[in-house]
């Protein structure tokens, strides 16, 4: 596949991703905005894939070694930290009542 054909495909999925991103996020309640931010934060940790590719280049010089290694360290911190923090937050969201949709008029009694 020529470079330009690939580029057209890449731009296409880029634009589609914009719409998917907006679509899935618009349904998230404000209750979960902090975990949402933290969760998307973990997802952009996917840059670790790029960092691995750079550090995994054959025949690289000292400069690429150093830069690639630093990138792997930073990106791994992003991935692991992001997912662990988000998990810690979401773990705490519990409800006491039997399952029912979030109800604005609580009557204060507990199960």
């Amino acid at each position: 596949m020529s470079h330009n054909t690939l580029l057209v495909f890449e731009v296409t999925i880029l634009v589609l991703a914009i719409f998917v991103g907006i679509e899935v996020i618009s349904k998230v309640p404000t209750l979960l905005h902090t975990p949402l931010m933290s969760g998307t934060n973990a997802i952009h940790g996917i840059i670790v894939v790029g960092a691995m590719i750079v550090l995994g280049l054959p025949d690289k010089d000292a400069f690429t070694w150093v830069v690639g290694f630093a990138a792997v360290v930073l990106a791994s911190a992003n991935v692991v930290g992001g997912f662990v923090v988000t998990d810690r937050m979401l773990e705490m969201f519990k409800k006491r009542e039997p399952p029912k949709p979030v109800d604005a008029s609580q009557d204060g009694k507990r199960s």
């Binding site: 880029l14 997802i43 995994g56």
Partner: protein, 464 residues
């Protein structure tokens, strides 16, 4: 593993990420969503590793252990109140990684014969520029939230001009690269200017606006990652980066809308400066009186109310009082009082920050009411207890067109029969804006540390 097979397997990761975001739409299965996202990430790492083969595998492993170990420990030990700065930190390192990859890619392709393709050099420039701004900006946001640097806006005359000049310099270096000037130093200059811009761009933004800034920088890192995908011709980077870029931008806009301010006003308004005008207004309040009450009085009010609504703000987080508030609420519920929590979308230092803190204290989420629902309930509320919140209950936002927060939707606590404000002192809040709610005849102030005050209330309610 071939390039095509790898990209096909990356599709699993992409689907996992989309599901992760989709599952976040309800607290009931949000955690499962996050786990799916993490599983997708593991798939991507394994696929990449197989594709690379054995080249420098040990260096990659050591790098991952160092970075991942730091991330895991930091994320485990951090207190829930310090969550915003932790998110800022993890966001910054992601942006930094994107910028480093751009540097390495340029270094690799420059010696190759012929000029680099325009789209590749454009992607390199963009991910270096945005990634660097995100890195240094996030570090400043981290410093502000961690109180390493003052949270008040830092401003000087001509600031916007200087910031603009630095950004233009960075963009100029980028354009030169894209135009075909093959010099690695141009990218170094671009990164230096972008790092400087990130610092100077966040410094003048007040601590109260940090949630919006972190959300914006989060979107920035996403965009830098997507640009990195074009550099490396890697579909998972493009899609995942753009998902974050688009959703982060939307979240940023939603938050500035919740404050009724334009995104430009948040970023360039240096909101929260103590202006001469505000000081004059504050001085004029000297004649008005504030009613303060003892914990015993407030305890009686609470215990004999039908409906009590707690309005938490950042002061609750600072005082670590979320567990005590829950205890008090449980005690009141045992006495037959109807209790709920009214959560303003921008209360705290991160969107939804209060929800996380109260969830930490085991408050069931159906009791957490969003602003519009809560505002419907205030007219039939006996006591609204404001714990460490200020601007989000400031009636000036409704009534006083000269107030800097005029037009911001607020929690109308002044519609309740009585308002109890727990506050350390009469100092204006984080944004430095005077609050007439405190002078309202309906309002009683309970001065002191929020945690101490709540503990006293618990003790007093128990004796009733």
């Amino acid at each position: 593993m071939s390039y095509n097979l790898a990209n096909l397997l990356y599709l699993i990761t992409i689907v996992c990420f989309i599901l992760a975001l989709k599952f976040l739409s309800s607290p009931a299965h949000a955690r499962r969503g996050n786990q799916i996202g993490a599983a997708g990430m593991i798939v991507a790492v394994i696929v990449t590793w197989i594709r690379i083969g054995t080249t420098s595998w040990w260096a990659i492993a050591i790098g991952m252990l160092i970075g991942g170990g730091f991330g895991a420990v930091a994320a485990r030990v951090v207190k829930m109140t310090a969550m915003p700065q932790m998110v800022a930190l993890f966001n910054g390192v992601g942006g930094g990684a994107a910028a480093l990859i751009a540097l390495a890619e340029l270094h690799r392709i420059l010696p190759e014969p012929g000029a680099p393709k325009v789209d590749i050099s454009l992607a390199i420039v963009l991910s270096a520029l945005i990634g660097s701004i995100s890195f240094s900006g996030s570090m400043v946001a981290f410093g502000k939230l961690q109180d390493l640097i003052g949270s008040r806006p830092i401003t000087y005359p001509g600031q916007q001009f200087v910031n603009g000049a630095v950004l233009v310099a960075a963009i100029a270096a980028g354009l030169a690269l894209v135009a075909g000037l093959q010099d690695e130093w141009l990218l170094w200059a671009l990164i230096a200017a972008a790092l400087l811009f990130g610092v100077m761009f966040v410094l003048p933004i007040g601590g109260a606006d940090m949630p919006v800034v972190i959300s914006l920088l989060n979107a920035f890192t996403g965009l830098a990652v997507a640009a990195g995908g074009f550099e490396l011709e890697n579909n998972v980077l493009i899609v995942a980066g753009m998902l974050v870029g688009a959703s982060g931008t939307l979240l940023t806009l939603m938050m500035s809308r919740a404050m009724n301010r334009s995104i430009a006003n948040v970023l360039f308004g240096a909101f929260g400066q103590v202006s001469a005008e505000a000081a004059a207004v504050a001085a004029g309040d000297g004649g008005r009186t504030v009613r303060s009450a003892s914990a015993e009085d407030v305890a009686v009010m609470l215990a004999y109310a039908h409906k009590v609504v707690f309005v938490p703000g950042y002061g609750l987080a600072v005082a670590q009082a979320q567990h005590d508030v829950r205890q008090l609420a449980d005690l009141l519920e045992e006495k037959g009082v109807e209790v709920s929590y009214a959560i303003h979308p921008v209360a705290g230092r991160m969107p939804g920050h209060m929800n996380v803190l109260l969830a930490e204290a085991n408050v069931p989420y159906p009791q957490l009411e969003e602003m519009d629902d809560a505002n419907r309930e205030f007219p039939r509320t006996d006591v609204a207890v404001v714990v460490g919140a200020n601007d989000v209950v400031n009636p000036d936002a409704r009534n006083n067109p000269s107030s800097p927060i005029y037009g911001m939707p607020i929690l109308n606590v002044d519609e309740a029969q009585t308002v109890v404000v727990l506050k350390r002192s009469m100092n204006p809040g984080f944004a430095g804006i005077e609050n007439p709610l405190f002078y309202n005849p309906k309002t009683v102030m309970l001065f002191g540390d929020a945690k101490d005050s709540i503990d006293k209330l618990i003790a007093d309610v128990k004796t009733l």
